[in-house]
């Protein structure tokens, strides 16, 4: 026992001399988490990170069987689901963790928005977070196509067409994304490259920046708690907060396993460009509020195609969300900012309402 400790001690010393283990240790010990009535929201970022890790590992496993071509993609996923032992489990976890990750990411983002954690000096943390949300949606959009089934095929047609309708740059971007004029095998290859190389590389870099900034600035204490003189109580990150984090992650893993086992990912029918779009075509739930909004727009608004008006509006909405740290001057000055609390609530309400309508309003009349 004694010898073991000593041997570890020597290994530690050796490592410390080479990679500076003690500095890392000091850093970990220094990190503290404010304890107040909103502390619970601090867990969402770590939860999203955990689910991202799940995505990376299951994604790598899926790569071993997946074949990115229009002729083979569907069949390779079919083989994975039917023949490969636990193939269904890996794919179902990948699909479910993707949904849960986007969900926790949204909750994280909106909790940060409502608790005004974007205020100085954390503007860049907010920007990197909003950019990561964009990347997560990109992951979802590109990953959806990869099984090359009917639903994914038409959802991608619609999604890339929407990109193509963006004023000025649209047609170019649409072609760039599709790898041609239509959604074909070329689109699949492109989406595959984007999904497994470009997005992961970009997301890892941005995530590094995001985590570095969180580390640098520490957790933000909500302004209203600060004003009440709260937020003085702290708990150490290691081990108190980390252990609680891990409890959350284990719970998430259990939920994932249950979802994957009881509701395995479906595959549906292989995409056929010469069949009509099936009824009930729908995007992933996190695009639903936009999809549903576009449905309600008339063909023309003031002589402009309704679609374009909608796309520009959503683009401006995204830009507004990104620039909130600069627009919310009151919070930046340390004053209460009712307006931006209401804006946050309005955005959440809008997304919830239109998502609800997307699943309940009749698609056919």
């Amino acid at each position: 026992m004694e010898g073991g400790v000593q041997r570890f001690g020597r290994l530690r010393e050796w490592l410390d001399g080479r990679i500076g283990l003690k500095d890392l240790e000091k850093l970990a010990q220094k990190k503290e988490i404010p304890v107040h009535r909103h502390t619970i929201w601090y867990y969402l970022g770590g939860m999203t990170l955990f689910l991202f890790m799940v995505q990376v590992s299951t994604g790598i496993l899926l790569l071993l069987y997946y074949r990115p071509s229009a002729e083979e993609a569907f069949e390779s996923v079919q083989f994975l689901m039917g023949e490969v032992q636990f193939g269904w489990l890996i794919r179902s976890i990948h699909a479910w963790a993707a949904n849960l990750m986007i969900f926790t990411l949204f909750v994280h983002l909106f909790s940060v928005l409502l608790l005004k954690a974007y205020r100085p000096p954390r503007e860049v943390t907010w920007f990197s977070g909003v950019a990561l949300m964009g990347l997560a949606m990109g992951f979802g959009f590109t990953g959806y196509l990869l099984p090359w089934n009917e639903l994914a095929y038409f959802a991608t047609k619609v999604g890339t067409e929407i990109t193509g309708a963006v004023p000025v740059m649209g047609p170019f971007l649409g072609r760039l994304l599709r790898g041609g004029d239509d959604v074909t095998g070329a689109t699949l290859t492109r989406f595959y490259g984007i999904h497994v190389a470009i997005l992961p590389a970009t997301a890892t870099a941005l995530l590094g920046l995001h985590l570095y900034l969180v580390q640098k600035h520490g957790m933000s204490v909500p302004p209203d708690i600060e004003r009440q003189g709260g937020g003085q109580r702290r708990m150490p990150f290691v081990p108190n907060f980390l252990l609680r984090d891990i409890v959350g992650w284990l719970a998430a893993l259990a939920v994932l396993a249950a979802l994957a086992a009881y509701f395995p990912a479906e595959l549906g029918k292989k995409a056929d460009p010469f069949l009509p779009a099936p009824a009930g075509i729908k995007p992933e739930w996190y695009f639903m509020f936009m999809f549903q909004s576009l449905k309600y727009l008339p063909a023309h608004i003031l002589g402009i195609e309704g679609e374009i008006v909608g796309i520009v509006a959503f683009g401006l909405g995204g830009l507004f969300l990104l620039l909130i740290p600069f627009l919310d001057r009151r919070t930046a000055r340390g004053e209460p900012s009712r307006l931006f609390t209401w804006i946050g609530i309005a955005i959440i309400a809008y997304m919830l309402l239109f998502t609800y309508l997307g699943y309940t309003a009749s698609a056919t009349k």
Binding site: V158, E161, L176, A186, P276, A277, P278, L294, E307
Partner: protein, 151 residues
């Protein structure tokens, strides 16, 4: 050689800096240009099919029905109206590119993606489509249906 004589040195430095900057720009452009050209997919020749003979016999198309067929590399739809006329349109919804289908119950062409409706002249009558479907010319030659792009 004296160190305090800065004038000629600084102009040389300026030149070298300018030159370095220019090389930097040249390097950047010579990397970005091929890269951006690489990312843009090459133009594939448009499908030249101007006329298609369908693998469907005229008698097999019942009144008030529609069927998708390949027009070159794109889907198109053949419709027989309740009155018995044969018509053909591009099956690509003008809204967001989904493939339309014939709705017997509505006697309309319908797009499932966003609930777009077209009448039997291909005109957009309800929902989000901004334009009518492209119409093709249908000729029945003996036992064959020949569809061509409008002359």
């Amino acid at each position: 050689m004296a160190e305090h004589v800065l004038e000629p040195d600084s102009s040389r430095r300026g030149f070298v800096n300018w030159f370095l900057g220019l090389s930097g720009v040249a390097f950047f452009l010579s990397t970005v240009y091929p890269l951006s050209r690489y990312l843009v997919p090459p133009r594939v020749a448009e499908s030249t099919a101007g006329t298609v003979t369908l693998p469907i016999k005229p008698d097999d198309v019942k009144a008030n029905s529609g069927e998708i067929f390949k027009f070159g590399s794109r889907p198109a739809i053949l419709v027989r109206t309740p009155a018995g006329d044969l018509r053909a349109f591009s099956a690509i919804c003008t809204h967001l590119n989904c493939t339309v289908q014939y709705r017997t119950d509505l006697t309309q062409i319908w797009c499932a993606c966003h609930n777009g409706h077209y009448d039997l002249n291909g005109k957009n009558v309800e929902g989000p489509p901004p334009r009518p479907l492209d119409a093709y010319v249908v000729n029945v030659r003996g036992n064959q249906i020949v569809v061509s792009k409008s002359a």
